[in-house]
């Protein structure tokens, strides 16, 4: 039971960290997007001004050089606008991918909460059984042992309940944040971690200790006796997101970018592989060779074709080959 509580501690911390990580990236991307949109808006305004100026110059018979200068400037601004639009599309794509990852994480978290609830139910059943045993127990020593077990079980159950409440609180906070972000992303409230449910570690302290760099796991392990994040915890991460180098620079998720040195490619002796060449005599059944041919006079041809002995046998042979069903 104690091990199970520890696993839940680790799991909830990993969720907190992942939530935090994803939210940070998402926020920065949204900020970038806003900045690019602002630039786009400014450039559009600039373009409009130039176009007005261009029309003005045209109507006031300005010099060709002046008009050409403005036309060139308009072209330059239009190119910049295209570039900005490209940036916006890319950022929007990144945001969609990050949001997808966040949603998957949220889903995985919901499954986790269900598991915690099931475990709580299991604890409650066991506690109920212990209570009944205490009621009917006559032996004082045994009763005392039951009561100790009851107290221990009750304490663990309380821990689990607090964890579930905490996780639900975070989920609700995130939902509110998501709704807020739809209206005004800059006004998002930070996640509150005040009501730490753990006896051994305080979540807010831990979050301060967590360094989102390569040495993250080492640092956390050094500061706590047990590892905060288990290597085998399977968090849902969008695979496309993992492949996105820009995003990975920020998330710093390790994945193999090159082949390990210890992979040995098979040594194949190509020279000794026999492949058929065109010179090889592959036997082809062409049938019988015509070794001689003699022309026949028209009169003899006519004689053969009208022969009452030859032609009936030819027709018979042909008719034997003709399948009436196929002909029909």
């Amino acid at each position: 039971m104690e091990d199970m509580v520890e696993v839940y501690d680790d799991k909830i911390l990993s969720y907190l960290e992942k939530d935090n990580e994803v939210e940070t990236i998402l926020e920065s991307k949204i900020e970038e997007l806003d900045s690019e949109k602002q630039k786009l808006s400014d450039k559009n305004a600039e373009l409009k001004e130039l176009e007005n100026s261009y029309r003005d110059k045209l109507t006031h018979d300005s010099s060709t050089d002046e008009i050409r200068e403005i036309a060139d400037e308009i072209d330059r601004i239009k190119e910049e606008l295209n570039g900005l639009q490209g940036n916006i599309d890319l950022l929007q794509m990144n945001i969609n991918m990050i949001s997808e990852t966040r949603d998957k994480n949220e889903k995985s978290k919901e499954e986790y909460i269900t598991n915690v609830s099931n475990t709580i139910e299991d604890y409650e059943k066991k506690l109920d059984a212990i209570n009944k045993a205490i009621e009917i127990c006559d032996n004082a020593a045994l009763k005392e042992a039951f009561e100790e077990e009851q107290a221990d079980m009750q304490s663990k159950l309380n821990d689990l309940k607090k964890q579930r409440e905490k996780e639900l609180d975070i989920s609700i906070n995130n939902t509110i944040k998501k709704e807020d972000s739809n209206d005004d992303i800059t006004e998002k409230a930070p996640i509150e971690y005040d009501n730490a449910p753990f006896d051994e570690v305080i979540v807010s302290d831990l979050l301060n200790k967590i360094d989102l760099s390569d040495s993250q796991q080492t640092n956390v392990e050094e500061n706590n006796e047990k590892p905060i994040i288990k290597n085998d915890i399977d968090l849902d991460v969008n695979e496309d997101l993992l492949k996105n180098d820009d995003v990975n620079k920020e998330i710093e998720i390790d994945y193999p970018k090159t082949l390990p040195n210890d992979i040995v490619l098979p040594n194949i002796d190509i020279e000794n592989i026999n492949t058929p060449s065109l010179d090889d005599n592959i036997p082809v059944d062409n049938g019988q060779e015509i070794i001689d041919n003699i022309s026949v006079d028209a009169s003899k041809i006519s004689q053969i074709l009208s022969s009452s002995s030859i032609m009936p046998s030819v027709y018979n042979w042909l008719n034997n080959n003709i399948d009436e069903k196929v002909v029909e």
Binding site: I290, N293, V296, S313, V314, L318, I322
Partner: protein
């Protein structure tokens, strides 16, 4: 090389008269009859390899059926022409 209405000698030294020649699906077929044994009738595929001419007996039933039908029609027309 045109072998239609000619007497040909095959590798086994048997002599055949080529009754008809037909081009079908880019392949050339011949209807031949043994000049010494009129029960020996064949439909053959004509092959050319290294300037040499070969005849290979057709044994595919479906193809034999189709070709027999066509040769029969051709033969009837030829008979009309030579009669």
């Amino acid at each position: 090389m045109i072998i239609n209405h000619q007497i040909i000698t095959l590798q086994d030294n048997k002599k055949y008269f080529v009754l008809e020649e037909l081009l079908e699906e880019r392949e050339r077929y011949c209807l031949i009859i043994n000049i010494e044994d009129d029960s020996d009738v064949k439909i053959t595929l004509r092959n050319e390899n290294n300037g040499k001419l070969f005849l290979k007996e057709v044994d595919d039933k479906k193809l034999l059926n189709d070709l027999s039908l066509k040769f029969k029609t051709m033969l009837e027309k030829d008979q009309e022409m030579y009669s």
